[in-house]
Every structure is written in C-alpha cells, then in structure tokens.
Symmetry: C2
Subunit: 242 residues, 2 copies
DNA sequence: ACCTGAACACCGTTCAAGT
DNA sequence: ACCTGAACACCGTTCAAGT
C-alpha cells in the first residue's frame, strides 16, 4: 500500500497519461482521496516525477477538467433555444460521467480550461446571431453559463464535507429529516413524500447516484423561456425590466 | 508567527466564539489559508482545544455557513414572485458579505446547516400556497435553489485553484484573453469590449471585487418569468412541455 | 530530458495526561 | 469539563543529485 503499485514502466511518463490517470483516480475514489502522492503511486513513480511533467497540483486539476469536458460544445442549430438546451444537457451528461470532478467547476476555479473558452465562444456566436447584443448579450451569456455550471454543480455536490464520513453524514441528514420539528417545518412535512430525497437541501443522495433529471429539464425549459422574454423586451426598449 | 497571538484567555472558549473567529479568519484570508491550526493560533490555544468544542473541521465549517447565512429568509409577501426574488437577492447579499464562504455552499456540502432547512421550509410554503403542487412543486423548488446557490457560487468562485498564485493566475488569464487565436475565437473577439471581465469564463476578477449585479438581476427575472410559465402550464396539463 | 531521494513546512485527528 | 502536549499518518513543493 505504501509502495508503488507498478514497477517503474519502461515507457516514459507524459502529460497525457498522467492527466488520464488522475481523472481515473478521481472517478474511482473522489477528490478527497486524491493527491499528487497517491497519483504517483498509481503510476509507479515518485511524486516529484508527476510535478515535473504537469507542474503544480492546480494545473493538473485544470487539465483534468478539460479532459472531462471534451466534446460538450454542440453543433450549430437553427433555433438558439435548441442549441442552448443541448449545450446544457451535454454539459450535464459529461459531468454525470465524472461526477467527482464537478466541485472543481462550480467552486474552485474561475475557469481556465481551454474547453470552457471554446464553449464560451460558441455560445456568444449563437447568441449574437440570434439578436442578443451589448448588455443583453452579457446577460444571456451569464444567465446560461451560471445556471448550467451552478445547477449541475449543486446536483453533483458530494454529501460529505471531507473524507471518511460519507455514509455517516447521510445517516445524520436522514435522522434530521425524520425528526423535524412539526411546528417550525410544517410546510416541509406536509409535502414530505414528494420532496424528500428529490429536492435540494432535502435529499441525502448526491445526483451521482440519484439524478434529478426531471427537475433539470424543467429548469432548462423555464430558463430558456425566460431568456426569450428578455430578448423580446430588448427589442423594444421602451418597456424596461421593472 | 508560530506562537499563539494572544495569551490564553481567562474566559473559557465556547462554540460560538470559535465559529465567529473562524468566519472572521475566512473572511480575511480565505479558505485556502484557513486551517484548524491557524484558527487555534488566532484564539491563543492548542489545535486540540478547538476540536474539543466544535468537533471535526467539517462540522466547524458547517456552522460557519450557518452563521454567514443568518437572516436570509424573507418575510411573507403577496406575490410569490416578489418573495422568490427577495430570497435570491438576500442570499446573494449575505454571501457578498462573506464571499470566501461561497465555495462551501456550491460544491462541498449537500447542505446540512439548519439555516438552509429554514429557507427550504419557507420556500415550500410560499410555492405551495401559490399553487405549485406535486411534481411542479419539486421542479420549482429545485429550479430556484439550484439557480440561486449555483449562480452565486460561480459568481464568487475564487480565481485560483489553490494557495499562493492568485495574482499570477489573473495575469495568466488576462494573457490568454489578450492572445486569443482570432480564427478559433472570432465571436469572443468581436464582442470583447462588452464581455471581457464581465462575463463568466471571460473575467479575471471574482464577483467579490467585481460583482455582476446587472446579470444577476436579469437572471432572476428571467428565471421567475420562466417558472411562472411552468405554473400556468401545470394548471391545464393537456399542453405538456414539448 | 527525465526521474530519484531527502527535506521542509505544513495538515487533521487520536490519545494520554494534566488540572 | 476543559485544555496541554506529543505523536501519527498524511500533504504539496523545493532543491540537489543522479542518469
């Protein structure tokens, strides 16, 4: 366990193999158990060998994100609404294949991955040719990316803050929900059958094992509809947003 | 620097003081520089004394979140739309006062804070008395909380993945944006004046120093409008979402 | 160019001991 | 009940040395 798992390979290490191994490790045991040192063990190599190839831990994780988000940018579509919906669901699908990567996107980096730059360029292209310009372009861009990255990040948030007590944290939350004070949480309790383990804050399983498909689709539809209203209003600017 | 900053206080430590000191430390130097050990130093005490009062690091951080989110639940309103908008902007305001706490909410925990349970109960109450029920209640709940927590989390995401290179990370991103390949990023470049440092993925400052007020307001309005459409449709269920 | 190996300054948590 | 103090098993990164 303390020794490298493989004998030092004859084939020399390279960036690509390291990043792939890192994503694999994260997929299997999560971000909490991931470290440069265990990755080095996986590769049968000293930790400093990893650093030599990929630089710092932060740079490595940025590349992991890029790898997980490959091929999310959709091809062109006739209607911008269809393209946006497809972008959001492709993004979500990619992260559902690598749920443990999600925290890196929603919280830890203001994005640096080349992939997200590609997405941004495509989105701006679609929006601007749909008639969004100036302020309304910025608004739509931020609404869509913020909603997409943020919502999915929350859906896939891990259940425990730190290593170890995943199962234990679940039990604690279930306990709390079972013993809610009826006086202060009347609304929750009267809708418990429909809400529990299906609604944010009230579920004990992450979206990785308990996906919120229906809610996501409804969210995407509502958002796109709302942005459509925004666009229509920006075309006759006498009626301002209240 | 390696010694406790204060002499051991005569007043004994307690939970409340520890949590307040932790929030204060996080506000001042961020999550990366925060550790149980530096908090103990701030309090003039050994690290294990902290653990004795608040338990594990994860439990401490959960309490920090609760403290930062005090008083976000709005009072009742006539229209559910007004209440939801107020909830979202109160939540955002609270986190803008404690931006370094944001990563804890959007990524790290599936929520355990008692405060978020209070918010959920109030939200369910407002939505159900507005006519949302069953599936559409779950959908609206998840759309609103996912949008709120997720969007603000992204807005306030720190610029660097890890300690140290904040300023350096900013420079790198600015460089990348200045040297974008015009062939593959034509759309971005033709709208650069309006997008750069004002749009997700294309900004180098976090929302803590560069808030996205206008985009947030537009987002909230678009979302509430879209959810309104959802509600209207659920009332004559013959017309399904396409 | 690529990797070993030791070292540095940190972590969170456990466990015994003091008062 | 509350805190000290030492110890354990980790971190990421630096720096010199090997080949």
């Amino acid at each position: 366990m303390a020794q490298p798992r493989r004998a030092p390979a004859s084939v020399p290490l390279d960036r690509e193999r390291i990043v792939a191994a890192a994503l694999d490790r994260i997929d299997r045991t999560g971000l909490n158990e991931f470290s440069v040192r265990v990755l080095a063990r996986d590769l049968g190599v000293y930790p400093t060998a990893v650093s030599w190839h990929v630089g710092t831990r932060a740079e490595l994780l940025a590349e992991v994100v890029s790898l997980a988000l490959k091929d999310v940018t959709p091809p062109r579509r006739r209607r911008w609404q269809d393209w946006v919906r497809e972008l959001m669901s492709r993004y979500r699908n990619a992260l559902h294949r690598h749920p443990n990567v999600a925290p890196l996107l929603s919280a830890q980096l203001v994005s640096n991955a080349g992939v997200s730059m590609e997405i941004a360029d495509a989105l701006v292209g679609v929006l601007s040719s749909a008639g969004f310009e100036g302020k309304s372009l910025v608004r739509a861009h931020n609404a869509i990316l913020g909603a997409m990255i943020g919502w999915v990040g929350l859906e896939l948030a891990p259940q425990s803050l730190s290593a170890g007590g995943a199962a234990e944290a679940i039990d604690r939350l279930r306990d709390r929900l079972d013993n809610l004070d009826p006086a202060s949480h009347a609304a929750l309790l009267s809708h418990r059958e429909v809400l529990f383990n299906k609604a944010f804050v009230l579920r004990w399983e992450s979206g990785a094992t308990n996906p919120l498909d229906d809610s996501f689709n409804a969210f995407v539809h509502a958002l796109v509809a709302g942005i459509g209203v925004m666009l229509a209003r920006s075309r006759h600017p006498d009626s301002e947003i209240p």
